[in-house]
Symmetry: C2
Subunit: 252 residues, 2 copies
Amino acid sequence: MRYVLKIAYDGTDYAGWQCQKNAVTVQEKLEEAIFSALGQNIRVTASGRTDAGVHAAGQVCHFDAENITVPPEKMPDCLNRFLPPDVRVTDGWGADETFDANRSAKRKTYCYSLYVSLREMPLKERYAARVETAPDLEKLQAAAKLFEGEHDFKAFCASGSSVKTTVRTVYEVKVEEAQTYGGRDLKIYVTGNGFLYNMVRTLTGELLELASGRRTEESLLQAYATGKRELLGKTMPAKGLTLLQVEYQTKN
Amino acid sequence: MRYVLKIAYDGTDYAGWQCQKNAVTVQEKLEEAIFSALGQNIRVTASGRTDAGVHAAGQVCHFDAENITVPPEKMPDCLNRFLPPDVRVTDGWGADETFDANRSAKRKTYCYSLYVSLREMPLKERYAARVETAPDLEKLQAAAKLFEGEHDFKAFCASGSSVKTTVRTVYEVKVEEAQTYGGRDLKIYVTGNGFLYNMVRTLTGELLELASGRRTEESLLQAYATGKRELLGKTMPAKGLTLLQVEYQTKN
């Protein structure tokens, strides 16, 4: 029986999704909860890793379990009893064995959150990165278009990655602005067929560079063509990034 | 020389604003920072207390200090070096001795944040209270009007309070809704000339009761008339409450 779970987490206190030695990860907490609830040592497969400090509102994973009487829709309540408050299973359903949380994923959407302020704001610091200034919404939205389409995102990727191809399709980069009592908040929604390590964080840094005029479309095109990381803006901090949604053909 | 400071804090890990024995408070952290930065033991006076777990984006306080060369506008940078990351001085200015952060306050605005979800959402839990269902925005906005004006808010006040009068004027109760990937978020902005202990948290609980039809305008009027706490809905949790702004005649 293949179970699929949707998971939300505050990544602040975790060394990312994937299990690793000498660090606390979300996957480890989830597998511990499965062991506590079901009495089985089970490895789960997620749609993809999230890095240390990155959050998720809609991570998806699957696992197989035999001889279990818990129906998939009861899995959230069953597992949440054994999870820390900053990790929650928010949905559960069954799937056949052709479904793979990683390989069957068609689209992913990340949100990068920024706030504009000369000083740190404690109520915004946890889930957003601070910038002292930011361009107009119209300029950000115009620059956002330059990332859409199929491109070789090698330059956006942290070195040391060993993926087969660095070509990805970005379907949409949408920028929204909200005025709050503390100032301007910006949210950058990026939807694509897959993302390289650090790609959304580097894309956001480059978006700010392009919209402010500190870098140009020409240098971005050169980055696509050459894969040279130094042609792009800085990688933004992990805490501003949230994996919002993973979409599959059957059920998201 | 009278200094005025604007302060923002994440109240999660504090036993409220006001100094007390055997508990860590925001006032204590601020006074420790003043001692570290200026070498003087100085007591500050805030616009009012905030309870344990309540947040602030715009708390205001004042203090007097002699023989100090730091100009008021440099006070944020001067003190922030000695404050924990969840407390920040965001503005500083000078005032004459007639200004009192508490007594000169004309209007205060609080925001109560709710999110609607059948399950806990880790990324929303820190700064908002969860409700499983909530009425339509129009119903909430209609019920919000019932709190506006001058009323005796005795019934809204936690017992044991020793204020002279429990009559307060609420200038505005504004309800805003946002759709997010995780569902509906509600923000209730309450502006008044002053607030009793627990008043905004009880008002929010009662607002949900009124808008849902579980309680009526008649029972609210009876609560105003009799001061009986049991006529009102429950007191909402501290974590959803933020002191947004304190307004003074001269400068807010």
